[in-house]
């Protein structure tokens, strides 16, 4: 009796917590509303299954509790029931998977017109690089990193000279323009995570990863590292400012280009090995 009641309470409590507690996701600030929708669909389907299974179990525990003289029925299996349940489950799974894969397809398809911006991670802060006038980022590699060239931009690539370097400051993004965020790490794994954007991706030393989004809300959002990267992981934070295109362009104009940062110091090769360019 008590057990059945507690099982019912667990279901009611869980649903009540879901509906009435104040804890829910942060308001979205990107175009990935579809991800939220898929998540809500998943909540509905799984919530229904959870309630159905546990409530049925509670009913069984109460209805078929042991009483003197009681004997269990003999039902070693029931093919029709089992096939029916299997079919229903497969249907429910498909109802979650299909929208999921559809949204994933758009998540991994970067629109042609997307601007590029690069995020560079290292223990334990963020740097950023914007393509300059030419709209293209120059090549970069960890082997070129030195005190004067913290992001390792190749001095031999003509596209790199006008790249805008933001070393350790905040990230700025223009509103309503699709942007392909290129992710690079120069030491260990990191993960560029802005909760309001919903998108995130690991940064892997030795390769360049990416995701894309369109910021849809002006504001200042916190950047966190979401892949354990050492003792300072919990403090590896920064800010991204989403602002109008005019504000963004004004800000971009004030930043130093790679060529400007290299004026005083000649570019040196760093490191014990030549590496592969």
């Amino acid at each position: 009796m008590v057990v059945a009641a507690v099982l019912v309470l667990v279901v009611l409590g869980s649903i009540g917590f879901h509906l009435f507690s104040p804890w829910w996701w942060t308001p979205i600030a990107s175009n990935w509303g579809y991800i939220d929708t898929t998540l809500v669909i998943t909540f509905w389907i799984t919530g229904f299954v959870f309630a159905a299974v546990v409530l049925f179990m509670a009913w069984c525990v109460w209805r078929y509790r042991h009483r003197p003289g009681r004997r269990a029925d003999w039902t070693p299996e029931n093919r029709r029931l089992e096939l029916w349940l299997t079919g229903a489950t497969a249907l429910g799974v498909a109802a979650m998977l299909a929208p999921g894969l559809w949204v994933w397809a758009s998540f991994v398809t970067v629109p042609e017109e997307a601007d590029e911006v690069e995020v560079v991670a290292q223990q334990w802060f963020w740097s950023y690089r914007y393509p300059g006038e030419d709209g293209r980022l120059g090549r970069a590699d960890a082997t070129w990193i030195s005190a004067d060239n913290p992001l390792g931009v190749s001095p031999h690539d003509r596209f790199g000279a006008d790249d805008v370097i933001v070393d350790g400051g905040d990230m700025h993004l223009p509103l309503d323009r699709p942007v392909k965020v290129l992710l690079r790490s120069i030491d260990v794994l990191h993960n560029f995570y802005v909760p309001e954007f919903r998108a995130k991706m690991d940064m892997v030393p030795g390769s360049v990863t990416y995701f894309w989004l369109t910021p849809t809300r002006e504001g200042e959002f916190e950047v966190l590292c979401a892949e354990l990267c050492g003792t300072g992981h919990g403090f590896m934070r920064g800010y991204v400012l989403v602002e109008t295109e005019t504000q963004f362009n004004a800000w971009l104009g004030e930043q130093l280009t790679f060529a400007q940062t290299q004026q005083d110091a000649p570019v040196r090769f760093a490191g014990p090995t030549g590496g592969t360019p």
Partner: protein
Amino acid sequence: MVNIDEGAHAPPPAEVEDLPPPHATGWWSRWVFSQDAKYIAIQYAGTALAIGFVALVLSWLIRMQLGFPGVFDFISAEAYYQFITMHGMIMVVYLLTAVFLGGFGNYLIPLMVGARDMVFPFVNMLSFWVYLLAVLVLAASFFVPGGPTGAGWTLYPPQAILSGTPGGTSWGILLMLVSLILFIIGFTMGGLNYAVTVLQARTRGMTLMRMPLTVWGIFTATVMALLAFPALFVACVMMLFDRLLGTSFFMPTLVEMGEQLSYGGGSPIVFQHLFWFFGHPEVYIVALPAFGIVSDLIAVHARKAIFGYRMMVWAIVIIGALSFIVWAHHMYVSGMHPWFGFFFATTTLIIAVPTAIKVYNWVLTLWRGDIHLSLPMLFALGFVVTFVNGGLTGLFLGNVVVDVPLSDTMFVVAHFHMVMGVAPILVIYGAIYHWFPLASGRMLNETMGRIHFWVTFLGAYLIFFPMHYVGLTGVPRRYPDISASFVPDSVMTLNAFISAMALIVGAAQVLFLFNLFWSALRGERAQPNPWRAASLEWQTPDMPPHHGNWGAALPVVHRWAYDYGVPGAGADYLAQTDPSRRHGEDIA
């Protein structure tokens, strides 16, 4: 229908050689270097519970930091990462794997299939001692300069072997890798025993389809572990090479704290593939024995044949096979080729179907049963609730695009604790309450057991259910302090509540340990076969079973393990050794 030996003239020859196992000659070989699987099982389980208690204490420290950041000065960021790493690795590998396979596997397989012992008793003994060595090496890392590794239980390179991580360039990571390598060697010795005993040492009449689901679960998990653990082995050896010999298997060209390191050309992603090629099957290596055991607990205590036995067996085998092609769902945001997302999301969600069938069949076994709410049954019910909950949140994380916002948040932490922490541990407890009388001859104390159950079940649910919502607000995992950030203050209130619950649940586990020792010495004496179970392990001539298990002659099996409530039969169960011809279709 298929009364095989109807009209048979002579009994078929004993096809299993009945050789008595090597006899212990002295005190040492009887109690310490024992080759009896039952002693080895208790040694395994005892060691696992001991090191598991260390991990439990670590979880208190973790929750103290998360619930009340800044209050406890001695928990630095460095210490916090060491705590979570050791907590995770101990719980997943050294506790859960060891208890299910080394503990229950050793104890139950020979008894349930009607063998006198494991087929290679000496290797079986070595398995335990190598495991113990692995545990000691791991525990030693708490006492070396630099402390244990703080690389996270996933040990992702490059950070795991660099100076920015606790223990990365000192002893911590080395001891961790060596301990894992030892564990895998020890496990392989034991695993060969579990698998070959099921294959070769079943007694007469014990066909595969007459085995209890416990044996099916442990057997399938063992085979999977034998195929999956080598991946972790390779990953550990390669990382040791990188750390000690300066190779670059996992190390690309990188600049650490402004200094170029001599590594180059390696790939951290290769480690992740190897790790999860072990890591995902590992989830089922823990889950399948739990599935099997809980099936038996439900059938025995609901006095009803397990519903859909054949489906249950097929589901175990299918889950085991499928679990080898889902590993990269842990790597959706690792930067691997996006094409993989489609494939692995599909395989991952397909595996939900056989898993769901198992859940339905547990519940349908209760349906029209004769449910005794004994302690093992309570834990089984708790398992179903937490497993369904945790399994369903797995559908969020397996569905690639839904995983993107949730990965690396507390949602993931809540999910895997519910599904492979709380759920299997409830099964372990249920199994201990169920088989303790067999192993010790005494019952565990009922009152302490009920307190233990209610606090553990409800407390753990109150810890991990709200934790999903902490993750949903965006709180990343592996952050010692999230208070000064984008999350609202109310999240910190919830965190404090979760921490309080964690300490209470932890206290209940201390009560359980007390009950274990107290009942072993003072507990009520158990009747033979106190639960009136049909399976073979309760049909030994002595309880607890003596060396060699079966006295003079091996038992002969005449029926499957689930003849409860057979229509027309007098008793409400027929033991597997019961020679009567009656079976379930004899209703007429």
